[in-house]
């Protein structure tokens, strides 16, 4: 009752949300016009709650409709909008502008190591090809007509690597992947780890054989770029190390 009385007494002032201006420098590339990518800057009026993705939307909707980028869920689940923001691979939808240094321009470019198609879009096919080649599905014998039981401890063994959203932030931050397109890359190894250490799965040997290849886990140089880039906080380098040890043991 007292709360309502206080609210009635106060004059109604429309709340003004403070805004600020940030400069984004975006690496543009239109294959029909440009021979080389070029940097273009945009000034955007933003609020404290805005993310890099909101800034990109404002540019696309209000300033330059030709700006091209991928996004789907816009909430860090679908993994569509991984990009290189101020030299680090992040999800545009999980990076708040206010967390970046807005006294300087914000550099946004496409992830590296994959063929650039337009503006912030790269060809993800090589990435998905190496993902497919590690058999990213449950390989189990018998028909699926009853529950496959698993204890909480067995489930916890591979919990970290189930979080992968295939955004390619890790793989496109890997210096080995930049120079050697044949390397499976961290994301594929993470997804192999997810099944290799799954007690219900019977295909561990097949996957370990695939990753024991010349271009498999041994190409990993333990630079930790992938662990740092992962927007889901997966300990990617640790997962790769566990797969290496499993290859040496010959079993998970």
């Amino acid at each position: 009752m007292s709360t309502a009385a206080v609210m009635e007494n106060q004059p109604h002032v429309p709340e003004v949300i403070p805004t600020f201006t940030a400069t984004l420098i975006i690496r543009r590339f239109d294959p029909e016009v440009d021979d080389e990518p070029r940097w273009q800057d945009f000034d955007v009026e933003l609020r404290g709650t805005d993310r890099v993705l909101d800034a990109l939307h404002k540019i696309k909707w209000e300033q330059d409709g030709s700006l091209t980028f991928r996004r789907s869920c816009a909430h860090g689940v679908c993994g569509s909008d991984a990009m290189r923001i101020n030299g680090r691979n992040r999800l545009a939808c999980k990076t708040l502008i206010k967390d970046l240094d807005i006294s300087k321009p914000i550099y946004v470019e496409a992830i590296k190591g994959l063929p650039l198609e337009k503006d912030l879009i790269v060809d993800m096919e090589p990435f998905f090809e190496s993902y497919r080649s590690i058999n990213p599905f449950l390989m189990a014998s018998g028909s699926p007509d009853k529950e496959r039981k698993q204890s909480p401890v067995e489930r916890a063994r591979f919990d970290d690597t189930t979080k992968c959203i295939l955004c390619a932030a890790c793989t496109s931050s890997c210096p080995v992947f930049w120079t050697d397109g044949q390397y499976f890359g961290p994301a594929a190894i993470v997804n192999a780890h997810r099944f290799i250490f799954d007690s219900r799965d019977e295909g561990a040997q097949v996957r370990l054989d695939i990753l024991n290849d010349k271009e498999g886990v041994w190409r990993c140089r333990t630079t930790f770029n992938c662990s740092e880039a992962c927007p889901r906080g997966i300990q990617v380098t640790q997962a790769i190390a566990e797969v290496k040890m499993a290859v040496l043991r010959g079993k998970p």
């Binding site: 058999n135 390989m139 189990a140 028909s143 699926p144 210096p175 080995v176 120079t179 050697d180 024991n212």
Partner: protein, 147 residues
Amino acid sequence: MSVIDAPRSKAAPKRRGINWEKWGWIYMRASGVVLVVLIFGHLFVNLVAGEGVKAIDFAFVAGKWADPFWVVWDTLLLWLALIHGGNGMRTLVNDYANNTTVRRILLAGIFASTAILIILGTLVIYTFDPCPVGAAPELLPSFCPVP
């Protein structure tokens, strides 16, 4: 109920022979651990223990190699370090040399220099004689027995 055959994608062809990438990786880890002991032991004995760095001269080296312990130590140090370094450079070349011809030339160069250094070094360790018989006396170090 029909079940889709797994795996749906083709399994990787089984390769034959030794998996050099795997053994190379294991070698780098194993030799790295041993080299930490060998290198710091070497540095301590040569530079810190006793009189320190002032003690190093021809007689010091001759004295060390009169002891089979140091012969084995230095042989291990030579082989492990050179192969470790050569394998590391091989990895770098495989990473960054895209051109097949350039890569082959660089790899051959790394292999040749590693092999030559190992052979020469081993030869020196095992054929070293501070007082060779029949040498001119004025060229011999002072600790050699006067004939």
